[in-house]
């Protein structure tokens, strides 16, 4: 084949690739790259949405880090959620996944029942939990009282609001259960048989056969859990709004993080600064902190050996 026909072929294949990728190429530029750069730009501007933006240097940054009373509590809450909520979700998801592989009666019914809460729309699920855990009229405290147990204030008590959110997150474990179940069923049976012949206890079988086999999935669950926590917005916001009990429609002014800033997360600050205080510059500072954190975790996910990027390439 002559070089010119080769070159023509190459050009045709490039054009073909570009044509197929074009929707995403436009989407990436217009709805990702451009707004991301603009976020950096606005983080150095003073902008209230009405008067044209003016250069403000690092004023927004010092404001967010030193004077904005919600930033550090929100970051601390995020850390709490990453440590407690993500850990418990992975442990509980793995436990429920194990349990479902062991249940031999009416497996389909159990699996569906365990999975359904995952599908409940976040707003509806949170409203439901705000009602269930309502200290005054909620059925949970009513049951706890009948059993003679202490009745926490849940979403109305700063020490209990994050555990209440964690409970809500554990309720919606369905996706992790399915992922763990599939991974557990993939563990080679011979390895269990060999371990049993060697006289391994159930715990040893779990520790030395199950865990090494599913460790990539555990890692996946941890990293995606952390990334989900970076985006955690609807549940804490609705829980705080409903529990605070002030009659308010959507869009009403609302002191974020009720009670006592305990349900604040970083995404809520972007909303508070940008759309309630009309301080777009400072909102962009928080957005960039959020960006840095999530990208760090995404990099971790993609660096993992045999990670997402190699998925399906065999």
């Amino acid at each position: 084949m002559s070089t010119s026909t080769l070159r023509a072929k190459h050009r045709r294949s490039t054009l073909r690739t570009l044509a197929f990728l074009s929707p995403w190429l436009i989407g990436f530029t217009v709805f990702f790259a451009y707004p991301l750069l603009s976020t950096v730009y606005f983080s150095f501007m003073h902008y209230d949405g009405f008067k044209p933006p003016t250069w403000s240097g690092t004023k927004n940054w010092t404001y967010v880090f030193e004077h904005y009373p919600f930033f550090w509590p929100a970051l601390r809450n995020t850390l709490w959620l990453v440590l407690v909520m993500v850990t418990l979700r992975v442990a509980f998801g793995l436990g429920v996944g194990l349990l479902i592989t062991k249940i031999k009666t009416a497996t389909g019914v159990f699996r569906t029942l365990f999975y359904l809460p995952y599908l409940a729309p976040p707003v509806a699920a949170t409203m439901a939990f705000a009602f269930l855990l309502n200290p005054g009229t909620g059925p949970v405290n009513s049951l706890l009282e009948k059993a003679g147990l202490p009745t926490p204030g849940w979403f109305n008590d700063p020490t209990w609001s994050k555990p209440a959110l964690t409970l809500l997150a554990l309720w919606g474990i369905g996706d992790l259960m399915v992922i763990f179940m599939a991974a557990l069923l993939d563990v080679p049976k011979e390895q269990y048989e060999a371990a049993e012949l060697d006289g391994a206890t159930p715990w040893q079988r779990f520790r030395y056969v199950t865990l090494p086999n599913i460790s990539p999935i555990v890692m996946f669950a941890v990293v995606t859990g952390v990334i989900q926590t970076m985006q955690y917005y609807t549940q804490p916001l609705i829980a705080g709004k409903v529990a605070s009990g002030v009659i308010q429609g959507a869009g009403t002014q609302f002191e974020p993080g009720y009670p006592d800033k305990s349900t604040l997360t970083l995404p809520q600050l972007v909303y508070n600064l940008g759309f309630q205080r009309f301080d777009y510059g400072s909102a962009c500072v928080v957005a960039l902190v959020l960006f840095a954190l999530s990208m760090a975790f995404t990099a971790l996910l993609m660096r993992r050996k045999g990670g997402l990027i190699n998925a399906g390439e065999r």
Partner: protein, 298 residues
């Protein structure tokens, strides 16, 4: 069944040895333990739904008490929810957003996913990494410029268009999921189509798409649920115009309008949850497949 014959017949009637008896007892105990745990877990996952449903049928006064079971079953509560101004509009808006958004996402994501799965070109891994980065990015990171773009430059705030239009340009999660699915289709099918003289577009439409139906179904379901559940998007763009609210967004203001009426609020909550769960029962397989596909193929 030859192995039955190999067993010495006399042994079957002999009383179990102590070792056999402990093994059998242990198996029984394990069975009991696992099923009690299973029932405990089933209660944890189901009771919230049950209590929400029971409360939705209570009278206005009883909903303020600590009772668990309704004294009288007020099915009328559900009609009263629909009488609430706006509730029907929220349904219409949600269906519009969910159906149109899903259709646009599927149509625009398929060719991109196909190219990322089956074309060999320079920068393919980079493109894939960028898709994954987009998928992982919290929407709040770019919301300020996006809002300014749609509201100030295009004057589209108070509508759902700023949420729907971007879906015509590929959605990162859908592209990723579809690409995962398409890589499992053997190249031999594509080569055969090429030998038969099919161009790329025809190969995609006639060969790949019919084989990719389960993957497309999963993407469509996820996107539909995404729109159904979306709170942040409508809050940013539609909050100023109640005529453009969606169910997820309206539900919260419903609680505001019906401050202490837990029964009506819970009835509305049931009405927002029900379609999602109904759709799941009809498309269970596609949904579970999608979840596994994004998580396990690593």
């Amino acid at each position: 069944m030859t192995h039955v014959l190999e067993k010495p017949v006399g042994l079957r009637k002999a009383p179990p040895t102590p070792a056999e008896r402990t093994a059998r007892r242990r198996a029984l105990l394990e069975w009991i333990a696992i099923h009690s745990l299973g029932i405990a877990a089933a209660l944890f996952f189901t009771l919230p739904f049950v209590f929400v449903f029971l409360t939705s049928l209570m009278s206005d006064t009883q909903a303020l008490s600590r009772d668990l079971i309704p004294h009288t079953w007020e099915w009328d509560n559900y009609r009263r929810v629909f009488d609430t101004p706006g509730f029907l509009t929220w349904w219409k808006n949600t269906l519009f957003y969910a159906f149109l958004g899903t259709a646009l996402t599927v149509i625009s994501s398929i060719p991109v996913a196909y190219a990322l799965a089956k074309f060999r070109f320079r920068g393919r891994n980079l493109a894939l990494m960028l898709v994954i980065s987009m998928m992982m990015l919290p929407p709040q990171v770019i919301i300020i410029p996006m809002y300014l773009f749609w509201a100030k430059q295009l004057d589209l705030s108070g509508t759902l268009w700023p949420l729907i239009i971007p879906m015509a340009f590929g959605d990162a999660f859908s592209i990723f999921l579809l690409r995962q699915f398409l890589t499992t289709i053997p190249d031999e099918y594509l080569d055969a189509a090429r030998v038969d003289g099919c161009g790329d577009l025809r190969t995609l439409l006639k060969v790949v798409l019919p084989m990719a139906k389960p993957g497309i179904a999963a993407v469509a379901l996820f996107q539909f649920f995404y729109a159904w559940n979306d709170y942040f998007g409508p809050q940013i763009y539609a909050s100023e115009n109640p005529g453009a609210w969606t169910l997820s967004y309206g539900l919260e203001s419903f609680k505001g309008a019906h401050h202490t009426d837990w029964n009506l609020t819970m009835a509305a909550t049931v009405l927002v949850m029900a379609p999602v769960i109904l759709v799941f029962f009809f498309a269970q397989k596609a949904f579970v497949e999608g979840v596994t596909l994004t998580g396990v193929k690593g």
